[in-house]
Amino acid sequence: MTSCRWTALGLAAALIATVPVIAHHSSAPFYDATKKIEAQGPVTKLLLRNPHSFLYFESEVNGKKVEWQVELGPAASLTRTGWTSDTLKPGTIVRVSGQPSRAEGSFGMCCARITRPDGSPITPGGRVTEEQQPPGGGLSR
């Protein structure tokens, strides 16, 4: 029975050791934090939702029109910084810089700094800092 007890304790220790690896939802699997990209163009849609909101806008990349998908924080957090689903209406020009998606051939960004073309904040008095909208904030994606 002693061996059983040690097996159980070992298993429990193994379980505890696994927890830090899976407890945090990082952006690293999807976005490359070592790179930074910037694009500018008209908003196509803003989806304010949980656990993550998304902003879509168009720009030209190598002479071709592409639609960018920018991953934002949860609606529950964004609304606390003054955003609503009407904050960025389709057609509004935005300048977005952030970390590029790792997926080959995709046009995705996270941890983005979003401003008007002149660099002013989106919402009156809004912060314009790096990583204004962290991708986390939820346990689940």
Binding site: M1, R5, T7
Partner: protein, 159 residues
């Protein structure tokens, strides 16, 4: 057909509320309760399993019977909150193979819980009694299955 069903689920009022409400009582609360329910189900199951594996042997097995009622309440909480989280993003989540891996692992984990309850209910009564090798296998399988189910659940955010 299936796509229509998923889109309909996602469009229901309760799914839309979970997904789009800016309130802390919507998505954040549902997700938090799902985590609390998980802690109850797996935490209390682990207590039973560890006892079956020989930890705290002086605790009479029969005194563990109320644990199964707690597990059932925890499971009910997670079935409800899990369903809400699922339909809020039905078109995406119902297409993820890892969801079905997670559901299968939960079903097997619950099966272990039912078997463990039988072992305890009809097993030896004396406080220091050892349990059958069969009970040890059930307990070990339960610990592993719940750990795997949690892992599959977490992977839903990544795969």
């Amino acid at each position: 057909m299936l796509a229509d069903l998923l889109a309909w689920l996602e469009g229901t009022r309760v799914a839309t509320w979970t997904r789009e409400s800016p309130s802390l009582w919507a998505y954040p609360t549902v997700l938090t309760l799902h985590t609390v329910g998980l802690a109850i189900v797996v935490g209390v199951s682990a207590v039973v399993d560890l006892r079956l594996l020989g930890v705290a042997r002086r605790v009479p097995l029969a005194t563990l019977m109320p644990a199964f009622r707690l597990i059932a309440w925890g499971f009910l909480l997670n079935a409800v909150t899990g369903l809400l989280l699922l339909i809020a993003d039905a078109t995406m989540k119902m297409r993820q193979p890892v969801l079905y891996v997670k559901l299968a692992l939960i079903a097997l984990g619950l099966r272990c819980t039912v078997l463990a309850r039988k072992e305890i209910r009809y097993g030896p009564v004396a406080p220091t009694s050892t349990v059958s090798p069969r009970a040890s296998v059930i307990a070990m399988a339960s610990l592993l299955l719940w750990a795997a189910a949690i892992t599959a659940g977490r992977l839903m955010a990544y795969l």
